[in-house]
């Protein structure tokens, strides 16, 4: 057996394509995971205790993006962001902001964020629903006692809602982080940009190395790194969830 493994790991550090993919993944983590989680916490804490009609219908709608193939999502947004005859640019021209029109997926400065926003669209509804369900399980008395003690809405959020929602937050963060690093992003990017303009995530880079450039060994190295990152993140999140 020939140990070229070390060489592969050393190559990784000098491979600018890998680091580009790494940065793309960091942007995706922000937009697929952090933004939807924060948005979900914000919206759910406003809504959960209000008496609103049609909650079931909203739940159904908020979950719809989850059942669509990533490739289909990427294809639809490919048109939405298209430079000519695209939806975003058309809306901009309607409201007189032609100067802001761009090839959203066609430049390295906007493309990664544009792809990231697809993830925000995809996951925010999911986060809102999980957090609403979590908040509705919290004992109502905790809030009334806090109110008697003169705690304002913000204090109630940080002292009751947030700690009580810990389990839900951990579940949501793990799920969205894994999606931001693997399968979900792979299909969306492949359909929307093919990986051009700094949008290629690590998983797509590994796929292209292995099955298009036939560099199986180096591709495997990258997959190992990716798997280690995913397992480490899941492990840390679970530990945080267990504590206390």
């Amino acid at each position: 057996m020939n140990f070229i493994a070390i060489t592969n790991y050393l190559r990784l550090f000098r491979d600018s394509k890998f680091w580009n993919a790494f940065y793309a993944n960091i942007i995706y983590i922000v937009f697929f995971s952090f933004v939807p989680t924060l948005l979900g916490l914000l919206v759910s804490s406003i809504i959960a205790r209000a008496d609103i009609r049609g909650v079931r219908t909203f739940r159904t709608i908020f979950f719809t993006p989850q059942v669509i193939a990533s490739v289909a999502v990427g294809t639809i947004f490919g048109w939405i962001y298209a430079p000519q005859f695209g939806i975003v640019n058309q809306i901009l021209s309607f409201i007189g902001l032609e100067s802001l029109q761009k090839a959203w997926l066609g430049s390295a400065s906007t493309a990664p964020i544009a792809v990231g926003l697809i993830g925000t669209w995809l996951w925010s509804g999911f986060c809102i629903i999980i957090f609403i369900a979590g908040i509705q399980k919290i004992d109502e008395d905790l809030y009334s006692t806090a109110q008697l003690d003169g705690a304002n809405a913000l204090q109630q959020f940080f002292n009751i809602t947030l700690p009580q929602l810990k389990y839900e937050i951990v579940v949501v963060v793990i799920m969205t982080l894994i999606r931001a690093l693997s399968t979900n992003v792979f299909g969306i990017v492949q359909a929307a940009t093919g990986g051009a303009f700094n949008t290629r995530p690590i998983s797509l880079y590994a796929y292209q190395l292995a099955f298009i450039q036939h560099e199986i060994g180096y591709a495997s190295t990258i997959v190992v790194i990716l798997a280690v990152i995913v397992f480490a993140i899941s492990g840390v999140s679970m530990k945080i969830g267990e504590r206390e």
């Binding site: 919206v43 406003i46 809504i47 209000a50 008496d51 609103i52 009609r53 909203f58 739940r59 159904t60 709608i61 908020f62 979950f63 719809t64 993006p65 989850q66 059942v67 669509i68 193939a69 990533s70 490739v71 289909a72 999502v73 294809t75 639809i76 947004f77 490919g78 048109w79 939405i80 298209a82 005859f85 695209g86 939806i87 058309q90 309607f94 669209w121 509804g125 629903i129 999980i130 369900a133 979590g134 579940v171 894994i178 693997s182 399968t183 792979f186 299909g187 359909a191 998983s203 590994a206 796929y207 292995a210 099955f211 199986i216 591709a219 495997s220 997959v223 990716l226 798997a227 995913v230």
Partner: protein
Amino acid sequence: MSKGKAKIINTMLFIFLLILASVILMPFLIMLLGSVREHIDIIIRGPLALPKIWHFENYYIVLSRYRFGIYFRNTFYITAPTVIVSLVFALMAAYSFVFLDLPFRKPIVLISTILGVMIASEFIMIPLYRLMNVFGILDTYPAAILPQLAMSAAFSALILRSFFLGLPRDFIDAALVDGATNWRILWSILAPIARPAIITSAALTTVWTWNSYILPLVMLPDPMKVPLAVGLLLFRGTYTINIPLTMTGTVVTALPMLIFYLLFQQHIIKGLTRGAVD
């Protein structure tokens, strides 16, 4: 807070939710309306105009002339066996996890379920590709079905296990005293009771397998064998220029699961959230 004020706040929150819901539904509407237009019409009247003439023949074109009919059939060939066989295995696995005195039960349960659920297709695509190559089944449906089946069975086994754990133990003991074999207890007593858990598992496996594409992409190099998700990618690679036909292909890929979701939404939401939402 007065009653009138609460009502105003609730109405405002309702409108706010309505806006959020429209943002989420908008891309689907764009897809559906785009799929029945003509490319030249999009260029002349803009992408947001409503279709003047509804070009439903786009669906005929995409299904017959552009292979989406074949992709549809292939998707079915991959999804149906995956769902059925993975459930059979998951039921047997969950039964043995809960009711049999297995040696090393804990590590077995952990490895065969949690690990199976956590491993994404791309972590194992390279070794799987080589494995299927060794088996000599590369470019055949089983190469795409078997790994998908294994991952689905792991997930379903988790759901069924927690369902079985919730059953009263005496129930099984009574059956055992009766002299029923494990096989009979599983298939004639437990399987009918486990119906809700089985439907949840089946619904999720259907959605996942229908939408899966990394495995078919890697395992099925023959463009005549690929499912819809991969087919859509191939179609976009070849004919990106025509927006309506691209959207029609997207509808053919996405609509079956949208309808399926509407039919089984309770189960799908429950499964996707691991029971966090009931």
